[in-house]
């Protein structure tokens, strides 16, 4: 079970390897949001998303022996790149199971980072969990799950340690922290870090319309599933349901979920381009979209949106600019 001690230990292992990402802001965005808005730019993390933190945390926690046998991960793309980069830096081989419809950029980057990529069909009979388990068994590889894994949650939690410190430097001690949420690894890691370091900063998970399993699960008090598992441009945060490990943490520590539309995510991407000079993917812009376009569902004079990733294909980014910039 991930604790603040584990998160601090992960932060020590990540020091000098993960980037301390900046907390950005713009008066133009404050005006739209109707309050002070800060954006934690995790798109500037190595491999273009926060997933590098969890990947590094998990790989660096392995025994020497396990590292030598190598690791395996399943991922729609960002966890894939995070694990691949971390494995490479530790001299471990990595096999990554990815959906065939993941953005080309993510598949190619994962290969270029030295991992062996195995594609599977999201709509097919075999789940990615099953494909992953089969490979892991065969080669003695250690499976690094994308979110239901204590060392991964601890790694993502290091982002929360930075948020606590950076918010304090801005004079923010009470605010909601909007976090794009798939399986809940980042949301639960940040929530645990904030519980210990900045208890008046509260996580609110953000999801795209039609894939709001966490929001519905939090409302119901028990795990709910998404009816469908693909078909959103917010590919980074599509998961069937909250994790078994993450959900109890989310339940205990997070506020209600927020739901945004794909169009709002695209508009947020265009505004992040214009006002912050950062590149966000749709799933990475959901939290910013919630802050900008759903201000009435948010409490407080300041809000922090964690912009979780920027691995977007150029064509989709051009479309966001053509429509909304």
């Amino acid at each position: 079970m991930t604790s603040i001690t584990m998160i601090e230990a992960a932060a020590a292992r990540l020091k000098g390897h993960a980037r301390v990402t900046p907390l950005l802001s713009s008066p133009f965005l404050d005006e739209i949001a109707g309050r002070r808005l800060f954006v934690k730019a995790e798109c500037l993390q190595h491999t273009g998303s926060f997933k590098f933190r969890g990947g590094w945390s998990a790989v660096s926690a392995l025994t020497e022996d396990a590292r030598k046998r190598g690791v395996i991960a399943y991922s729609s793309g960002n966890h894939a790149q995070g694990v691949a980069a971390a494995a490479k830096a530790h001299g471990a081989t990595a096999v990554i199971v990815m959906p065939a419809d993941a953005p080309q950029l993510k598949i190619q980057n994962t290969r270029d980072l030295g991992a062996e990529v195995v594609l599977y069909d999201r709509a097919g009979r075999e789940s990615r969990e099953a494909v992953g388990a089969r490979y892991a068994e065969k080669g003695g590889l250690t499976l690094i799950k994308p979110y239901d894994e204590p060392q991964v949650i601890a790694g993502q939690g290091t982002c929360g340690l930075e948020i606590a410190e950076q918010a304090a430097a801005e004079g923010i001690t009470r605010a909601e922290v909007l976090v794009n949420c798939g399986g809940g690894g980042l949301s639960s890691g940040i929530a645990l870090a904030l519980e210990a370091r900045a208890p008046d900063l509260r996580v609110r998970p953000v999801e795209p319309e039609g894939f709001d399993d966490v929001t519905r699960s939090l409302a119901a008090g028990e795990i709910r599933q998404n009816p469908s598992q693909s078909g959103s441009i917010c590919d980074a945060i599509l998961t069937p349901q909250p994790g078994e490990i993450t959900f109890p943490i989310l339940s205990r520590l997070c506020g209600a979920g927020l739901v945004i539309t794909e169009e709002e995510a695209m508009r947020a991407m265009a505004l992040a381009f214009l006002r912050l000079k950062i590149v966000l993917e749709p799933g990475g812009a959901a939290s910013l979209a919630a802050a900008l376009f759903h201000p009435d569902k948010i409490d407080g004079e300041a809000v922090i949106a964690v912009a979780t990733g920027g691995n977007v294909d150029a064509a989709l980014f051009q479309e966001a600019l053509a429509r909304y910039a």
Copy 2:
């Protein structure tokens, strides 16, 4: 005359107001550059460019009386926004003289930051210096020149202090520091800061083809002019000639200039999008283009490119992605 003491004093005035921008990198870019490549992401500075540093430094150094009378600046856009934002924060009015062909985004932002914008024709009879002087005299406004002004150079120099510190943290003590160069305010400020703090980091000014006044002036040992004053997409770094104050500093401290093409700047923008998740304007990407596409003209095992700004119109950015991403 700007000294390291003035730069340190400017850093103290900027503390908590200007952003410490991150030093980014990507193994994919290292491979193209053939060495370790670090990008100082000044596009993430307030107002989208390093010019906020010089604007804040100059406005914060004014007497109370002068602040009350207000300030005036001439600028193709980034200095305009930097001065406008700094003036607003200090409660001073700002008049900004801008070329009519500056990017719409820069003109609009300057207005939105509360400044009065006066447009002039770059090809017209009256120089921007003359327009600026006329306004300054009329209203008792203090003219804040874009580069030939010691407090502006001191402000830009704070970027050099950060580079010295961040390079040391990366283990880099000897490298060339590529800086996009218009009138030379940033190049000379960084050069002065590095002279005092990291003498084995050496500035190399970077300019677009056809507007290489600094490169030719450095080679000749005396000031040379550009034949033309407009007509490049690198609008941020087009100036008629090096400054009277900046040129002696550049001469004493910088290595030879580097010249890149517009196409190379556009390709660098696309690679910064793909690999660093930052938005650069063409003039802000020239240094990165030099590092990526002219490695044979650069010395050493590591290179630092200062990515000076990201205020690019969406249409031009889309074009860069469509062609090169």
